[in-house]
């Protein structure tokens, strides 16, 4: 018998929480982005776990799609970051706060 699904799920939730926490507190844009990936991975873990628990392939299929989405997002996101910060020595999100109020 394998480890109960709920353990995995709690682990996934924790990973999700850590990722979210990272997004909230980090100011390095790249690291914020990494935290996003972390959250997506947590979701993936959840989906795979559910897939096993429900004996249903849909969860795994979802992970498959999430992977694609994540890839596309990363491509565009990093492209964006590059185009924004090209030539700048700093990639701090806090520099971008002109728009406010």
């Amino acid at each position: 018998m394998s480890v109960p699904g709920s353990w995995y799920l709690i682990l996934a939730a924790t990973l999700f929480g850590v990722g979210a926490f990272g997004l909230l507190v980090r100011r390095n844009i790249l690291i914020m982005f990494m935290c996003l990936e972390l959250m997506l991975n947590a979701v993936n873990l959840t989906l795979v776990t559910y897939s096993r628990m429900l004996n249903d392939i849909a969860g795994q299929v979802s992970v498959f799609f999430v992977l694609v989405v994540a890839a596309a997002e990363v491509v565009v996101g990093l492209g964006l970051i590059v185009s924004i910060f090209r030539g700048k020595r700093q990639v701090t999100a806090d520099d971008l706060h002109i728009l406010r109020g």
Partner: protein
């Protein structure tokens, strides 16, 4: 070939679902034309003129709109159906939104023409991205499966990230693109987590199956389900800018190219609401008692935040961003009431809002073009003297703004009226009063914009607001009207944008004078299942 491949893998053949190409033709057209445009760019190369590409895009939008209308007609006569293994629904609801999306797309593309001239090198890509993004919107609107919904959402969003970033030579644009991207990613993650939890709780991602499961089973522990639902609400609420998920809206609306802002406020919001409606009224219908109070609180907050924060803004686009938040609150109000009539009213409102908002941003974009500024942060004072320079533009903007404020003989009025009547019919009197208060507060913001358009450019000492108010209330002054500095600038209004604004105006007023078609149209779109 496919079949062979599948047989080799596994003794039994894969049962491919019946693909009704007719039903997904609108999306196919958009995607196909986008691909064609990219191909043409590769073959022909780039020119500064982008008429051709825009024309292609508009044609695609038009055809997909017409086709959606055709679908709508067939659906109303033959009934709704779900296609491609239950992944998509073709019903009054989805076709309604697809028509709306096509409309918004047409306006966006027409307006973009003038903007594209300035970013000529990448013009075709912009058109292609917009078409792709709209196809994502359509996917969201007809999705009958959370996963399809998610894919649609991402198609919509990722292309939008690029569109927002289209003018990153400006600092504001960069900032807004970045914020939208990070927060959009965050919202997607939340949505996805919600999807996962819902899947775990119900064993499916298909809306119909979820609904079936929930109506057949009474869960002893529905915590996961509720958590999933809340996270989905957060993810979609982000897209339609509900409080407290609205923080990105003003920043992004302000910093994005105005054309894109218009697109976001119209098409994207419509798609978001479509998804929200579909998920909550199909999949989570049985949980109504759980989500209804949430919608109440959120809609009230959204109404108030949108209105109250709008009146203290100085930037036009930012102000309008808050106004769109206020509108979102109104639409949500109809969802909260959740009667068949009220949903129809919400849809009506959504339609009206999309048209008015797209039109408004179209005019703003036109002003940017006329003033010969690629992108700008247009403050209220920048608008001064507009009416004497471009009376027609000013009048159009004024009408659209007043329509948003709920002026009579516009669909804006009918929209507010119908949502309110649903609210009152359900005996939520206090809520009605509150909503109207927010309308009154919001009226100030529209008036402030029109006011600055119609006030002359005065080269005089700056009188502070407080002084002026003081003077008005004391009535001590009967100052003569200052002589305007007449600056007659004869920039030509770009024809495509002119057409776009005309379309918006024609719908705004025309469908108010003869209200029946749209009323019926929206009412029929409430056939969700």
């Amino acid at each position: 070939m496919m079949y062979l491949f599948a047989t080799v893998l596994n003794g039994s053949p894969i049962k491919f679902p019946q693909i009704s190409y007719v039903s997904i033709l609108p999306e196919i057209i958009l995607i196909g034309v986008a691909a064609t445009i990219m191909l043409l760019v590769a073959l022909i190369g780039r020119t500064r003129a982008t008429y051709g590409y825009t024309g292609l895009g508009v044609a695609a939008a038009l055809i997909s709109g017409v086709w959606s209308y055709h679908l709508n007609q067939s659906v109303t006569s033959h009934g709704a159906r779900s296609v491609i293994g239950g992944a998509l629904a073709v019903d009054g609801f989805s076709t309604f939104f697809m028509i709306l999306t096509s409309l918004g797309l047409i306006v966006t593309l027409l307006v973009a023409e003038a903007y594209l001239y300035k970013v000529a090198a990448r013009g075709p890509e912009f058109v292609a991205l917009t078409l792709l993004s709209a196809s994502g919107a359509m996917l969201m609107e007809s999705a009958y499966d959370l996963l399809v919904l998610f894919i649609g959402l991402e198609i919509l969003s990722i292309s939008l990230y690029v569109m927002v970033a289209f003018t990153t030579s400006r600092k504001l644009s960069k900032e807004s693109a970045f914020k939208y991207f990070i927060l959009g990613g965050f919202a997607s993650a939340l949505f996805l987590y919600g999807l996962a939890l819902t899947y775990g709780a119900t064993g499916s991602t298909n809306l119909a199956k979820i609904a079936l499961f929930l109506s057949n089973n009474t869960l002893t522990s529905n915590g996961v389900l509720l958590a999933g639902m809340v996270l989905i609400l957060a993810g979609l609420g982000f897209k339609v800018a509900l409080v407290p998920f609205q923080f990105w809206t003003p920043d992004v609306y302000q910093g994005a190219p105005t054309t894109v802002t218009g697109y976001m406020s119209g098409v994207v919001k419509a798609a978001g609401f479509a998804a929200l409606l579909r998920v909550f009224f199909v999949a989570f219908e049985t949980l109504r008692a759980d989500w209804q109070p949430v919608l109440l609180v959120v809609s009230v907050l959204t109404l108030l935040v949108g209105a109250v924060l709008a009146v203290v803004q100085k930037d036009v686009k930012r102000t309008l961003a808050y106004s769109s938040i206020n509108h979102a609150g109104f639409i949500l109000l109809g969802l909260y009431v959740a009667t068949a009539a009220s949903i129809g009213d919400s849809l009506y409102y959504l339609f009206a809002y999309t048209v008015m908002s797209s039109g408004t941003f179209a005019v703003i974009s036109m002003i940017a073009h006329l003033e010969d500024r690629t992108e700008m942060s247009l403050s209220l004072t920048d608008l001064k003297g507009l009416s004497s320079k471009y009376p027609k533009v000013a009048l159009s903007l004024a009408i659209l703004l007043l329509a948003q404020a709920g002026a009579p003989f516009t669909i804006g009025f009918l929209a507010k009226f119908s949502v309110l009547s649903a609210v009152i019919q359900a005996h939520h009197y206090a809520l009605g009063v509150l909503a109207m208060l927010s309308v009154v507060i919001a009226a100030v913001l529209y008036l402030r914009i029109t006011l600055s358009m119609y006030s002359p450019v005065v080269e005089k000492r700056d009188v502070s607001d407080e002084e002026l108010v003081q003077a008005v209330s004391l009535g001590a002054v009967a100052v003569e009207v200052e002589e305007e500095t007449q600056v007659k600038v004869k920039s030509k209004i770009p024809l495509p944008a002119g057409i776009a604004v005309f379309i918006a105006l024609a719908i705004t007023i025309g469908l108010a004078l003869d209200a029946n078609p749209l009323v019926h149209f929206a009412a029929q779109a409430t056939l969700l299942k």
